[in-house]
């Protein structure tokens, strides 16, 4: 409690809902340009809020103490899902729940759909955004493994610049991204996966609402019994969500035999760098990652067989 300097324990019942111990100035720009101007001026003194489900918890725990909070929620131009011949574009303030309800997501991006459905609760999905889930850069972000296997691209804008960042280059460390302090992710673009490919998402949690202990997304495209395209991404097993390129390279142009499956499991176990924390031990995460990679590949294979 020592860090909650503002709270006099004698009056805790009077103040018991006065719970963000951080004082900040609140900005609610109406346009993207206004928001970028603010970030250009305030730089690292500002934190961006969209859903708030991460930032508000962090401020309550004093993990983040911004002087300024810039809300994106009044910027209508960031609230869109557009579908074209190349894929789907999702704006920065679109709620997770809205993405999950989009028909095209269920039909063409099943791994993302399953990840969204599995996240927290309906309330939290009504609040949180996918761009926020990615920018918060938790190793356990559930939308990260699906976005990694679908080769999503982020659009980052600053007052004077705009660039595209492949999602694989975005995560740097827990809570750290490739984003500069005056940049804002305005959009996620998800290209359609290859025709006739299959993809799936699995995760292990203690109870449904908890953060993932281990999560995985896999995409396969078979040509007969041969794996023509394979993408494997895991969450909560390293400082960032990650693609397991070595496992993909090994499986490419091979059949999914029991022997190959075993080798892939070993490669995955070697490539990941899990930690021991409140949710799991390092050993457990490594073992479960092996099980999940097998389960996810078998699920794709079953879908291929049942096609």
């Amino acid at each position: 409690m020592s860090q909650n300097k503002n709270i006099n324990l004698g009056y805790i019942n009077l103040f018991n809902t006065h719970i963000i111990p951080v004082k900040f100035n609140y900005h609610a720009p109406q346009t993207l340009e206004e928001a970028l101007n603010l970030l250009n001026k305030l730089k690292d003194k500002a934190r961006v809020i969209a859903g708030g489900t991460d930032l508000i918890v962090d401020m309550k725990l004093r993990r983040k103490e911004p002087e300024h909070v810039v809300s994106l929620n009044k910027i209508r131009e960031l609230d869109y899902i557009t579908v074209d011949s190349l894929g789907v574009k999702i704006g920065a303030i679109v709620k997770l729940r809205k993405i999950e309800k989009e028909k095209i997501i269920r039909e063409r991006f099943p791994a993302l759909y399953e990840a969204l459905k599995s996240m927290a609760s309906i309330q939290v999905r009504n609040m949180g955004t996918m761009v926020g889930n990615i920018c918060n850069a938790s190793p356990a972000a559930d939308t990260a493994p699906p976005l990694l296997i679908y080769n999503a691209t982020l659009t980052a804008k600053s007052l004077n610049n705009e660039r595209k960042i492949p999602i694989e280059e975005f995560f740097k460390a827990p809570g750290k991204t490739a984003l500069k302090e005056d940049e804002l992710v305005t959009e996620i673009f998800i290209p359609y996966p290859p025709q006739d490919s299959h993809s799936t998402f699995l995760k292990i949690t203690r109870v449904g609402m908890d953060l993932s202990k281990v999560s995985i997304a896999v995409l396969t495209k078979f040509n007969g019994s041969i794996i023509e395209d394979i993408r494997i991404a895991l969450g909560a097993v390293a400082p960032t969500p990650l693609r397991i390129r070595r496992a993909e390279e090994f499986l490419k142009n091979k059949p999914l035999t029991e022997e190959n499956l075993k080798i892939v499991q070993e490669i995955v176990a070697k490539e990941i760098k899990p930690i021991t924390d409140v949710r799991s031990t390092e050993w457990y995460r490594r073992e479960v990652a092996k099980v999940l990679v097998k389960d996810a590949l078998m699920k794709c294979l079953e879908e291929e067989g049942g096609r």
């Binding site: 809902t17 909070v69 927290a120 609760s121 309906i122 309330q123 609040m127």
Partner: protein, 156 residues
């Protein structure tokens, strides 16, 4: 830290309030508007006891900044009954004994209302999915699920 003026509707009544940016919607509801049906518990989005409807959708009010509800419409458990009569869901909770200490009940009632408005005939799985975001630590979920399913059945 500058106070902001916000205008919003709560349980059908328009309110204008000046609020500091570091206050939550939960604080606004309980400490300013004195509507104590919405409960404060974990304060970090886990338990769901502070659930209210924001523009018709359930959210956890402990993780919404009060300044952000400017222009919005909020419904709390106090806004559900009409003319002093309990709603069918509230009656069903009593009939089914779907509460013990009662602390989580307002949140379950709110979510139940939202669900049946959206989906008048939900499956058991859909009820379970909707209730997933609210925790009960004493009575268990079965009577709560059954109370909601019972209301749907009786309406048919």
């Amino acid at each position: 830290m500058e106070k902001k003026k916000i205008i919003f509707k709560i349980n059908g009544v328009e309110k204008t309030v000046e609020v500091e940016p570091n206050k939550t919607l939960l604080w606004l509801i309980r400490e300013v508007l004195k509507l104590k049906g919405t409960k404060k518990a974990c304060e970090r989005g886990d338990c769901g006891l502070c659930t209210v409807l924001l523009n018709g959708e359930p959210v956890k009010s402990c993780l919404v900044l009060a300044v952000e509800v400017d222009g919005s419409e909020i419904v709390t458990v106090e806004g559900l009954s009409r003319d002093g009569e309990l709603t069918p869901i509230q009656k069903a909770f009593i009939e089914h004994g779907a509460l013990q200490c009662g602390f989580c009940t307002p949140a379950f009632v709110i979510v139940g209302h939202w669900l049946l408005n959206r989906n008048p005939n939900p499956s058991r799985e859909e009820v379970v999915e909707a209730l997933n975001g609210v925790l009960c630590r004493c009575t268990g979920y079965r009577p709560i699920i059954e109370a909601i399913l019972d209301v749907a059945k009786k309406r048919k």
